[in-house]
Symmetry: C2
Subunit: 349 residues, 2 copies
DNA sequence: GATCTAGTCTGAATCGATCCAGAGAGGGGA
DNA sequence: TCCCCTCTCTGGATCGATTCAGACTAGATC
C-alpha cells in the first residue's frame, strides 16, 4: 500500500492541510516544519500528491488532448501531422502542459466515448474528417475549450487553418498554365470504403471529408476556369493518407487512362506514392503535392506549402492562453506555391 | 455549472449508484430505467462520468506516459523517435489506452516533478540520457510500472532494446573492412554543453548518455581491432539529435582534419546532416548512420537498421500486458547492417 | 494593558465519481 | 404457506487530495 498524504500527516503529527501546503504552497508554513514534512515523506516513500486526486480537486488537469480523426498510429505516417504535433508540443512545453494523444475508434459512438473519457483541459482537433461533427459535439457537451483546423470552421469556434480551396487552386492553376487539361486528382478517402483507384464522384458534396472536399473544389475551380469541367476529371481514392496508399491508388488498373498528363494530390505523401508508382511504370506525368513536407524538396515535388509547425503551435496557444479579443479566435495562415521540377509542361498532343 | 452524476440522480429520482451503473454496468439495472436515466442525462447536458473522478476512484487512468529525455518538441525531429512512437501508439490503440506525452524540463528536479505529476498508469522511457536515473527513480517511487529502452538495463526492469555496442561495431567493421583507419565519430551531446564540433573525450566513461556511450564504444571496438586506438579517433559533438545539428557539427572548423576518410554517426539524422555539409564543401568522405530511417534509403546511406516501430510496440505491450514469466521482461531486438552507397572504400594513401 | 497584525496551523467541506453489502420485491419449488 | 433465489436498486464509505474560514500564538503598536 502506497503511503498517502494522510499517512504523512499522521506520521509527522500535523494536519493534512499542512502537508498539502508543504507541497503546493510553501509560503504557508514555516520552512522548518516544511523540511520536516518533506523529510518524513521521503523516508516513507511518499511520492508527492497524487496527480489524479489533485486534478479532481483543483478542477484542471494540465494536459491538452490531441485528436486525430484517422487511427492514432496513422498519425505519424504523414510527416505533416508530425509537423503539426511538433508545434503543439512546443506550445504545450512552454506552458508546462502535457499532450494526451487519444486514439479514436472508427465508429462515431466509440469516438464520442473516447472524447468523454479523456482527462484533459481542452482539445486540438486535427484535420477533421466527417466524424468531426460528432467529436466537436462531444467536446462541447463536456464544456471544454477546443481548437479546430477544419476546412470550414464555425464562426464561434477557435480555429487555425489555411484557405484550403484557394491554396489548392493555386497549384492547379500552375498546371493549367503549363497546358495540362486532362488530369487526375488524388485524395485520401474520397468516398468511404472505396477501393484504391478511380471513383465516380457525381457531386463534390458527396465527399465526406471537408478538407479533401475543399481541396478538390479548389483544383476543380482552376480547371473549370479553362473549360474543363468536373466530369472530365478523374478522381483517385487512396485508402489512407500514406505513401504506399498513394502508390496503390495510382497503380490501380484504369487509374490513369491515356489522355491524362498530370496527377494533383491532396497531400505530399500521396504525391510521393504516386511518383513511386509512376517511376516504376516508367510513365512521366506531372505530379503535384500539398503541404510541402521535408521529403518534397529532395525529389523536386511541386507543391503548396502550409506552415505545419506554426499551425500546431498557434492552435495550442489559442487553447492554452486564448486572446481576450474574440476576433482573434480565428487565425488564417498563409500558403505558398512552391514550384519545383515534378510538374513540367504538358506534352503537346 | 456543469451537471454532475448527482444532479442526474436527483432529477430522475434514483440513487447515484444507479446512475453510475447506467453508464458503467448496464447489466445492473433494468433497461427501462437505464433508458430513462440516459435520456434525462442527455436532456440535462450531462456528458457522462467525469474522467478524473472516475480515475481517482477506480485507481487507474487508461493512459500511459511517454518520456523523452530531450525536449518534447524535439521528439519529432528524429524520424526514428516517430517510428518508436508509432509503435507505442499501435499497442496503446489496441489496448484502448491513451498516450500522454510529457515534456521534461532540462533540470533533474523539474523532470522529477513532471514525472510525479503525470496522471498515467505506467511509463515508456525512451532513449534515456544521463537524466534517466533520476527519472526512473521518480517512477519507481510512485510505484508505477515502466519500460526502458536504455543501453544498460537493470536486470529487474522491463526493457526492450538492441545490443547497441555490437550494432555499432558492425558498421564500424564494415568501414575498417573498406580500409578506413582515420575516422570521425559523430554523436549528439557527447559531453554536456559542448559546442558543435570536435571534443576531447579522454575516457568513454565521461560520456553521460548511455546509448551514445555504447555506440561509441562499439565503433571503438572495431577500430581497436585493426590497431587504431581511441586517442586516434576524432569525436564530433552535435548540440542535439537533428539534421541541422549534424551538419553544424561536421561543418565546424577542424572537425575533419586531413587524414580523415569517414564519418560514423550515432544516428541517421546526424549522418544526413553530415552529408549535407560534406556535399556543400564538396568533400567526398564515407558516411554511415544508425537506425535506418526512411530518408536513409533514397540517399544511399549505409547504416544499421533497428526495428523502430516494433521497439515501440513491444515496449508498450510489455507495459500494458506484461508476460507472466519474468524472464520475458527483457526483449532484445535484432539489428542489421544495411550497406548502401554512402560509404565506399578508403582512398589509397 | 488592550488592540492589531502577521505568521502558522487546523478541521471540515468538497471535488465527482465507484464499490459493496444489503434491502425489497417478485417468482419458483417443496 | 414458507423458504430461497434472482433481479433491482439504495446508502454510505471511500478514492486522495485542496480549499477556506477561522483559531491560536507571538510580537508590534499605541
Amino acid at each position: 500500500m502506497k503511503p498517502t498524504l494522510r499517512a504523512v500527516a499522521e506520521a509527522v503529527g500535523v494536519s493534512r492541510s499542512t502537508v498539502s501546503n508543504a507541497y503546493s504552497r510553501p509560503d504557508q508554513l514555516s520552512t522548518e516544519l516544511r523540511r520536516r514534512i518533506l523529510d518524513a515523506a521521503r523516508e516513507m516513500g511518499y511520492p508527492g500528491p497524487d496527480p489524479t486526486a489533485r486534478s479532481l480537486r483543483r478542477g484542471y488537469v494540465g494536459a491538452i488532448g490531441v485528436l486525430f480523426t484517422s487511427r492514432l498510429s496513422y498519425a505519424f505516417t504523414d510527416p505533416f501531422a508530425t509537423q503539426f504535433l511538433t508545434g503543439v508540443a512546443q506550445a504545450a512545453e512552454r506552458h508546462g502542459s502535457s499532450l494526451l494523444l487519444v486514439p479514436l475508434p472508427a465508429d462515431a459512438a466509440g469516438a464520442r466515448k473516447a472524447v468523454e473519457n479523456a482527462a484533459v483541459d481542452g482539445f486540438c482537433v486535427y484535420c477533421g474528417g466527417d466524424e468531426e461533427g460528432e467529436i466537436v459535439d462531444a467536446i462541447r457537451s463536456r464544456g471544454l475549450p477546443f481548437v479546430t483546423t477544419s476546412a470550414r470552421p464555425r464562426a464561434e469556434d477557435r480555429w487555425v487553418g489555411i484557405d484550403e480551396r484557394a491554396a489548392a487552386r493555386s497549384v492547379a492553376e500552375h498546371l493549367t498554365g503549363l497546358g495540362h487539361r486532362r488530369v487526375a486528382l488524388l485524395a485520401d478517402r474520397v468516398l468511404p470504403d472505396a477501393a484504391p483507384g478511380p471513383v465516380r464522384v457525381g457531386d463534390l458534396a458527396d465527399v465526406p471529408h471537408p478538407t479533401t472536399r475543399e481541396r478538390l473544389a479548389g483544383f476543380a475551380d482552376a480547371f473549370a476556369a479553362v473549360g474543363v469541367d468536373w466530369s472530365q476529371l478523374t478522381i483517385l481514392s487512396a485508402t489512407d493518407n500514406s505513401r504506399p496508399a498513394g502508390a496503390a491508388a495510382v497503380g490501380a488498373p484504369d487509374s490513369l487512362p491515356e489522355p491524362i498528363t498530370a496527377v494533383l494530390a491532396c497531400a505530399d505523401v500521396l504525391a510521393l506514392g504516386a511518383l513511386d508508382t509512376l517511376r516504376e511504370a516508367d510513365r512521366h506525368l506531372a505530379v503535384t503535392g500539398f503541404d510541402d513536407i521535408a521529403e518534397a524538396a529532395p525529389v523536386g515535388l511541386t507543391t503548396v506549402r502550409q506552415p505545419g509547425v506554426q499551425k500546431g503551435r498557434r492552435a495550442a496557444e489559442l487553447l492554452l492562453d486564448p486572446p481576450v479579443d474574440t476576433d482573434a479566435h480565428q487565425i488564417l495562415l498563409p500558403t505558398t506555391l512552391v514550384v519545383r521540377t515534378s510538374a513540367g509542361p504538358a506534352p503537346r498532343s
